[in-house]
């Protein structure tokens, strides 16, 4: 029952916001809604931890309501280990995004309504177990992204917004055909969209081979898989801060989550066949993303390409198809989500004070902006995988899982992926050093104000998340590991 509130609360928040006029009340309503969502997620997590049989990691709190009877479409929701941690990530990032945009002046109502719509899309996606419902929520989130970038973005807004939306809708169209293929080819007699029954009944092998690329490319575009990653740099950089945080933090995880479901539940046999290609694309993505980041001059573009690289780790873990690697992929999704949200938040705070994103034009900011500089360094160190922070835990798990298979090309891939961490260190340290240390190039702002209370809270929220995942990862592993072992058995 409480699972439905995850969808009802954002809808109520939007409806209330539509009828409010004053700017302060609107953002207060948005924040209240997001905090209530976090409390609901914690409640669901608590129920899951207490009631679930942790050894099997089964799906909990399931509800199944007939939606379109002749087409066998159900409103089918539930949570399992992987969903619950992604929901938690979403709740944290949404609160941080709302806090960071606290002072948004232009069309405030539309801004917060669109942000809440994005959150609704993400929450619905993570709790759905019916492919139609999942697709509905996935596409629900695309147009709000377009409107957010178009109206509140910076730089080449129109071009970036259009490119992002067209590529994501293109991915959705291909995904759509894959889902229809599963619907009609599922060897059960009556066609069905339900993911759980598909796990039990399975699809004929030759149909799996045909439709796996559709779903893989569809979800892969969302997770910035190598040839389809071109929407990420422009989209993330042109977006407003909250938009970038949401895009990089949550939206790219939609693809990763979809890939995990695809590989473990929907088409495990085809996944075995296509595994080399997945690993190849992942490794190219990691390397290409890392090297492309090194040449970026713009902070946001740097972070965007580094997102491409880090999400490559997610796909690498998924491609290896063993439980440890997939656990690492989920950890990397959480870690990267928190870390990149924090990084974009810090960049946004810096940009609003210096009005430039070019690295070379900034310097010595740590003197004026110690708190924001600290957030920047925290996010940067998490990105390069410093032990004690979440990035290390995630990347180590992925690499250990990738090493398990004694297959030489995979081991070479693991080595290359590990080597890319060095490249990450280069660009992070160089950027942090240039803009934070050294002489101040403070000729374009007068008296920069350090983080205000809302920015501090946003940073602290995400920072605590990064630290907890980094120092106490067993808390999360206890939740996701049984689930992954159950699905990947």
């Amino acid at each position: 029952m409480i699972v439905h509130f995850l969808i009802i609360v954002p809808i109520l928040t939007i409806l209330i916001m539509l009828f409010v006029q004053k700017q302060q009340v609107i953002r207060a309503v948005a924040l209240t809604g997001a905090i209530i969502q976090l409390l609901i997620v914690i409640n669901v997590l608590w129920q899951y931890v207490l009631n679930s049989d942790m050894t099997t990691g089964n799906v909990m709190l399931q509800t199944n309501v007939m939606w379109f009877a002749p087409l066998n479409i159900h409103y089918s929701v539930g949570v399992d280990g992987i969903s619950i941690v992604m929901l938690f990530l979403t709740a944290l990032v949404v609160i941080a995004a709302i806090l960071v945009s606290w002072k948004e002046e232009y069309l405030t109502k539309e801004f917060f309504v669109l942000l809440t719509l994005l959150a609704l899309g993400a929450y619905g996606f993570f709790i759905s177990f019916d492919l139609f419902l999942m697709f509905f929520f996935l596409e629900l989130a695309v147009i709000p992204k377009f409107l957010l970038i178009l109206n509140w973005g910076s730089g080449n807004k129109t071009y970036s917004a259009t490119k992002l939306v067209l590529m994501l809708i293109g991915a959705s169209a291909i995904l759509f055909m894959g889902i229809l293929g599963i619907y009609y080819a599922s060897s059960n007699g009556s066609p069905s969209f339900n993911m759980l029954t598909l796990k039990d009944s399975g699809m004929a092998y030759h149909w799996q081979l045909i439709f796996f690329p559709f779903l893989f490319i569809g979800f892969g575009v969302f997770t910035a898989l190598f040839p389809f990653h071109t929407w990420v740099p422009d989209g993330h950089s042109a977006a407003p801060t909250a938009g970038s945080m949401f895009l990089a933090g949550i939206s790219m995880k939609l693809g990763g989550y979809g890939l995990i479901r695809l590989v473990t539940m929907l088409m495990p046999a085809a996944a075995q066949f296509y595994s080399p290609y997945i690993v190849l694309l992942a490794v190219i993505g990691i390397l290409y993303g890392a090297f492309a980041t090194m040449v970026q001059k713009d902070l946001k573009y740097m972070n965007a390409y580094s997102s491409v690289s880090h999400c490559g780790f997610v796909v690498l873990g998924i491609g290896m198809l063993n439980p440890v690697a997939i656990t690492g992929a989920v950890l990397q999704m959480i870690s990267h989500g928190l870390m990149t949200a924090l990084f974009f938040a810090a960049i946004g705070m810096i940009y609003s004070r210096t009005h430039t994103r070019i690295i070379k034009e900034m310097g010595g900011l740590l003197t004026y902006l110690p708190f924001i500089g600290g957030l920047f360094i925290l996010a940067g160190l998490a990105s390069l995988g410093l032990p004690g922070l979440s990035g290390f835990v995630a990347e180590v798990t992925v690499l250990v899982g990738s090493w398990q298979l004694p297959f030489l090309p995979y081991r070479i891939a693991t080595i290359i992926a590990a080597a890319s961490i060095v490249v990450t260190a280069v660009y992070i340290l160089r950027a942090a050093g240039t803009i934070l240390m050294g002489n101040t190039k403070a000729n374009h702002f007068d008296t920069p104000i350090d983080a205000r209370w809302y920015e501090k809270w946003a940073g602290v929220l995400l920072g605590i998340g990064i630290l907890i995942v980094g120092v106490l990862p067993f808390l999360i592993l206890k939740i996701i590991s049984p689930t992954i072992h159950y699905w990947q058995s």
């Binding site: 379109f68 087409l71 509905f136 629900l140 409107l147 067209l166 809708i169 169209a173 291909i174 229809l180």
Partner: protein, 475 residues
């Protein structure tokens, strides 16, 4: 006696109401005209609403004219849908019609056209079908010419009547060949005698060409853009929604009942035509500056997507098509409502002239955007469900999936040109340089109806279930 009369006339309730309307309009015009305009507009709208409601009356005794006319619940619902669209269009043109000097003629022609469509929908005989088709087309040709002082209107009307006459001639040749094949004009008799031989294929193709002309499928779409641009905006709305919807409803009946044995042929024909339609419609829509021509090409593409559904089985296909046309009605009329208002108030027709509309009037902009997003197929609007179910119905045979993927990928291009309008509307560098005029009540009412329809019809599945129950009974 009265009971007998009523009993025999009851299948015709919707057509009789239309006839009543036409006669009252004619007599009102003869006996005094000008001072009754206000009252006329009111009761015509009321009449259309009554026709909509009459479609939900349970259908009992249902055939007439020695089996040329047959009413099923699905037909009654389809007629309600068409009447509802006419009602919304009439609401949107309310203020224009108050000032216009030919209001009575407008309504007489619209109601006559609707009457023709109703007869076409209920026909079970090729003769009756042809009568209905012609009765629906000829008033439209007059309606297109309604702005008598504009040369563009006359040009549009000329193109329309010439193309329509030509297509009608081809259609008639097809019907006569079918008569030659089977010796009867009755649908069931023709269906029984139709087998896969070259003569029946020629007959079928001629017939199909004649019918597909009216829905602007691609090789036969050349009249669409010019006619939509030249006609007054309410007539364009009527053409794009009501005219297309009626022919598509009839096509469902024809293809799945009469030409059932030729299914292997018309599947391939439909596949090729829909791919060409969607691609060409998209490519031309990208370049349009005039909003009415833009909507013309967008509606061509939408029809292409509707044709995808015909590749499935009769139940899923009919339900998907009828469901999508209801949603298409709401979405298209939302957009046309905004265009109507802007054109009648400010005389702006180009897309670029809508720049900065958002700051001037948020309600109008959101109506336009929600309508466009529904046409593009974005959740949570109903357009998403409509398109999804259309493509779902068509993908039933997995061998068609590669071609349907091509069609689905065209959704990207169509989204692009709908987004272009959004980009123009949100442009805040330019001021929308007109004084704000309050939106008149009837148009506001039509907006609210359309938006509520778009937002509820998708997520709430009861309309889909209702249509499915009607289809299951009819096929």
């Amino acid at each position: 006696m009265i009971y007998y009369l009523l009993h025999n006339l009851l299948p015709f309730k919707q057509e009789l109401l239309l006839l009543l309307g036409i006669f009252i309009l004619l007599f009102t015009q003869i006996f005094g005209g000008k001072q009754h305009i206000e009252w006329t507009l009111q009761w015509v709208n009321l009449l259309l609403l009554i026709i909509v409601l009459a479609g939900f009356w349970p259908v009992g005794y249902n055939s007439a004219f020695s089996n040329m006319y047959q009413l099923t619940s699905l037909n009654a619902f389809e007629k309600s849908v068409l009447a509802f669209a006419a009602y919304i269009i009439s609401l949107q043109g309310y203020n224009w019609l108050q000032r216009f000097e030919h209001t009575y003629e407008f309504y007489v022609l619209v109601l006559s056209s609707l009457l023709g469509m109703f007869c076409m929908l209920s026909s079970t005989n090729f003769l009756f079908f042809y009568i209905g088709l012609e009765l629906s087309t000829l008033p439209l040709a007059l309606l297109v010419n309604f702005q008598l002082n504009k040369k563009q209107s006359s040009e549009a009307a000329f193109k329309f009547i010439m193309s329509a006459a030509f297509a009608s001639a081809i259609l008639l040749l097809g019907i006569s060949f079918l008569y030659g094949l089977s010796g009867s004009l009755n649908f069931n008799a023709v269906a029984a005698k139709l087998i896969l031989n070259p003569f029946s294929l020629v007959a079928f193709l001629l017939f199909l060409v004649g019918v597909l002309f009216k829905v602007s499928v691609v090789p036969f779409h050349l009249w669409t853009a010019d006619v939509y641009e030249g006609a007054p905006i309410s007539v364009t709305a009527f053409l794009s929604v009501v005219s297309k919807a009626s022919v598509l409803f009839v096509l469902l009946n024809l293809l799945f009942k009469v030409f059932y044995h030729l299914q292997s042929v018309w599947h391939i024909v439909m596949l090729i035509l829909l791919l060409v339609t969607i691609v060409i419609g998209n490519l031309f829509a990208l370049r349009q500056e005039n909003f009415k021509r833009f909507m013309a090409f967008s509606s061509i593409t939408q029809v292409g997507f509707i044709l995808v559904a015909f590749l499935g089985n009769a139940y899923n296909a009919s339900t998907a098509v009828v469901y999508f046309l209801v949603i298409y009605l709401f979405s298209n009329l939302a957009v046309f409502g905004v265009i109507t208002y802007v054109e009648n108030a400010f005389n702006k027709q180009n897309i670029n002239e809508f720049k900065g509309l958002y700051k001037k009037n948020k309600f109008l902009s959101w109506v336009l955007l929600i309508g466009l997003f529904s046409l593009a197929g974005i959740p949570p609007t109903a357009g998403f469900f409509g398109k999804f179910f259309l493509i779902m119905s068509g993908s039933e045979n997995l061998n068609y999936i590669p071609w349907i993927t091509l069609a689905a990928v065209n959704l990207i291009i169509s989204l692009y040109y709908y987004l272009r309008v959004a980009i123009v509307v949100f442009d805040n560098n330019v001021e929308f340089d007109e004084p704000t005029i309050a939106i008149p009540q009837p148009i506001k009412l039509s907006f609210i109806i359309c938006i509520v329809g778009i937002l509820i019809t998708g997520v709430g599945s009861w309309i889909y279930h209702y249509i499915y129950s009607l289809t299951a009974a009819a096929f």
